[in-house]
């Protein structure tokens, strides 16, 4: 009995410690965003003024940044999943030589540190005249997220019995119809969670967005918030935290809703293949 009680105490203490460690920054963020005096939480009472300021100051471009982020992330996610689905179908279903080589090459590509690419990418995008456009961000994002989505989708597709697409072919489908009418609908939970992962990856990306955008025409929210500046060079913590809170909320909501699928998708990609 005693051992069991001790075990429970440790378990709860451990879980609580872990949760506090992970969620601490978020709690701090919300607390600061609601404080009248950011340097002294709670002193002077709580207020929604920071939120009002962020949303109500046109020169901060908060809504522009947020819309840019949503658009860039959504575009990246859709394009990535579409390409990854076609590639995963070819790798799992079609007769093709060197499938393993393709998968490992793709993995190797994803190992490049972002920083090592950024100088060249800037040159490339300047040369193409794409700096400060959505395209400048979407293209590298797709390349960057594609390997992970490909690996996840390959493991999803590999679990769908081959007889299903053979049945589709017999029933008169072309290979492309078999993919869109049978394989993708059957793998829909996996495809959706992969798309969501891509979205989150793109949404959180910082370095590319920092270098490849110059103003609110394309700048995304993580960079935008980092560039908030108050009058006289002071750092407006209240505004930054309020903006961060508003940015985090939709992602947290999405993650909470699709939590089960995401975990499945991540572990599948990790364990199999």
């Amino acid at each position: 009995m005693k051992g069991e009680t001790a075990e429970k105490v440790f378990l709860w203490a451990g879980a609580a410690g872990m949760a506090l460690f992970c969620l601490g920054p978020f709690l701090y963020m919300f607390a600061v965003s609601l404080s009248r005096r950011p340097d002294l939480i709670g002193a002077g009472g709580f207020t929604l003024a920071n939120y009002a300021a962020v949303l109500g100051t046109p020169s901060l471009h908060f809504t522009d940044y947020l819309l840019n982020s949503l658009a860039v992330s959504a575009l990246s996610a859709v394009i990535t999943v579409l390409l990854a689905s076609l590639a995963a179908y070819a790798i799992t279903r079609l007769e093709m030589k060197g499938k393993a080589a393709v998968l490992f090459f793709v993995l190797a590509v994803s190992m490049f540190p972002q920083v090592s690419l950024i100088g060249y990418l800037f040159q490339l995008m300047s040369g193409l005249g794409l700096i400060n456009t959505y395209a400048a961000l979407v293209a590298p994002y797709v390349a960057w997220i594609l390997p992970l989505s490909l690996w996840i989708l390959v493991s999803y597709f590999a679990q769908i019995p081959r007889e299903l697409d053979r049945a589709a072919l017999i029933d008169g489908c072309s290979p492309l119809q078999a993919l869109f009418k049978v394989i993708l609908p059957v793998a829909l939970p996996g495809v959706l969670s992969t798309a969501l992962l891509c979205f989150i990856f793109a949404f959180n990306e910082f370095i590319f967005a920092l270098i490849l955008t110059t103003d609110h025409a394309a700048r995304t929210i993580p960079v935008g918030i980092a560039m908030f500046q108050g009058l006289h060079g002071e750092i407006p913590w209240g505004n930054i935290m309020a903006a961060s809170a508003m940015t985090t909320a939709p992602i947290m909501a999405l993650t909470a809703v699709f939590q089960r699928h995401i975990v499945q998708g991540l572990t599948r990609g990790a364990v199999k293949g």
Partner: protein, 355 residues
């Protein structure tokens, strides 16, 4: 639609190197026939079915559908162009579609007008007794129901050829029997040329108008079920068809003034009168039901000692060693017990000789 297959070969490349799964198969499937491909696992029967369906390309050889070359040198038509339907062992129903959606799927792909789809799906559903299930998802159905949906999906488009890939293997014994009877009846009513793959010789015998026995990628024998049973072409067919399997002892035929003496292991088993026989080393085969076992000596009977006696219900399956081989025989005599001495007579007219 009759199907003709000429010198069909299929090779796969694996880690072990080149493997010939089909090594020159020739056969003709007649219009409206229920044709069975029978063989042990790995004999190439499923590969042959996939080649007929157009799911795989042959390495060489030719497949014709009623005179049209579907696969051959420089020509290949995929399953889309063949108007075939297939029923799979795992049913292969589309899990995201309802039963109606599953049955309607081939018609929708063929862009059939919606009212006609509805009418044809309902007709097929009625024929297979799945009308109450049309709104369900495949996940909610039992194995037998799923198989009937798969069959409905196959027949709804009125294919020229119906292919079955071990469709009853996943059903329990009772259901398998009932579905087998239904399937045969359905095929008779529809009159669609059907090719059925199985490893179960009982299924092959009961369903097939004709049965092709395959082993090691080669056709062993093509005959009616009774023809296979009564006139097996070689040792493999002899022992694969029939249950319990045929007894086989390796020995020789010797010409004597009275006829051919069949002997094995130094024991003369029987005297054969057929003039078509010839002397030399031979396998001597006889079915368990063609051996008469009695407790008393009889003319031409050989003394044996019963090693085991297994009651099967109507008959008792005896086993004993004779002429250096294990023999089994069926008897109705309940007093023949394990360890008893008895006399076994091989009915000479029922002996099969394999050179």
């Amino acid at each position: 639609m009759n199907i003709s297959i000429k010198n069909l070969k299929k090779e796969f490349f694996s880690i072990r190197g080149k493997v010939a799964v089909l090594d020159g198969v020739d056969l003709e499937v007649e219009e409206g026939e229920f044709f069975v491909l029978l063989g042990p696992s790995g004999c190439g029967k499923s590969t042959l079915l996939n080649l007929i369906a157009g799911l795989e390309r042959p390495t060489s050889g030719e497949i014709r559908y009623g005179g049209t070359v579907m696969a051959g040198p420089g020509a290949f038509t995929g399953p889309r162009g063949r108007n075939v339907a297939m029923v799979f062992q795992s049913y292969a129903l589309y899990p995201h579609l309802s039963v109606f959606g599953n049955v309607a799927f081939p018609l929708r792909i063929a862009k059939t007008p919606a009212p006609e789809i509805k009418e044809r799906v309902e007709k097929a559903a009625a024929m297979l007794g799945i009308t109450p299930l049309l709104g369900s998802k495949p996940g909610e159905l039992s194995g037998g129901e799923r198989q009937r949906v798969a069959i409905a999906r196959a027949v709804v488009r009125r294919p020229d050829v119906l292919l079955f890939d071990e469709p009853l293997s996943n059903l329990d014994a009772q259901l398998r029997l009932a579905t087998r009877v239904q399937l045969k009846k359905l095929q008779r009513e529809l009159g669609i040329t059907s090719i059925y793959v199985t490893h179960d010789q009982v299924e092959a015998m009961t369903l097939g108008d004709r049965v092709a026995v395959l082993k090691g990628g080669r056709l062993q024998q093509l005959d009616t079920p009774m023809g296979l049973y009564e006139r097996p072409a070689n040792r493999f067919v002899a022992q694969f068809i029939g249950s319990p399997p045929m007894n086989l002892a390796e020995g020789a035929l010797e010409e004597t003034p009275e006829g051919y003496a069949a002997s094995a292991g130094g024991v003369r088993l029987a005297l054969l009168k057929d003039p078509a026989l010839k002397a030399g080393p031979a396998g001597i085969g006889i079915r368990p039901s063609d051996i008469e076992v009695s407790r008393e000596p009889a003319p031409g009977a050989l003394p044996v000692r019963i090693d085991s006696a297994e009651p099967l219900g109507r008959d008792i399956l005896l086993s004993f060693s004779l002429a250096g081989a294990e023999f089994s025989a069926l008897t109705a005599d309940k007093d023949l017990k394990e360890g008893a001495s008895a006399h076994a007579r091989l009915i000479p007219e029922k002996i099969h000789v394999f050179y």
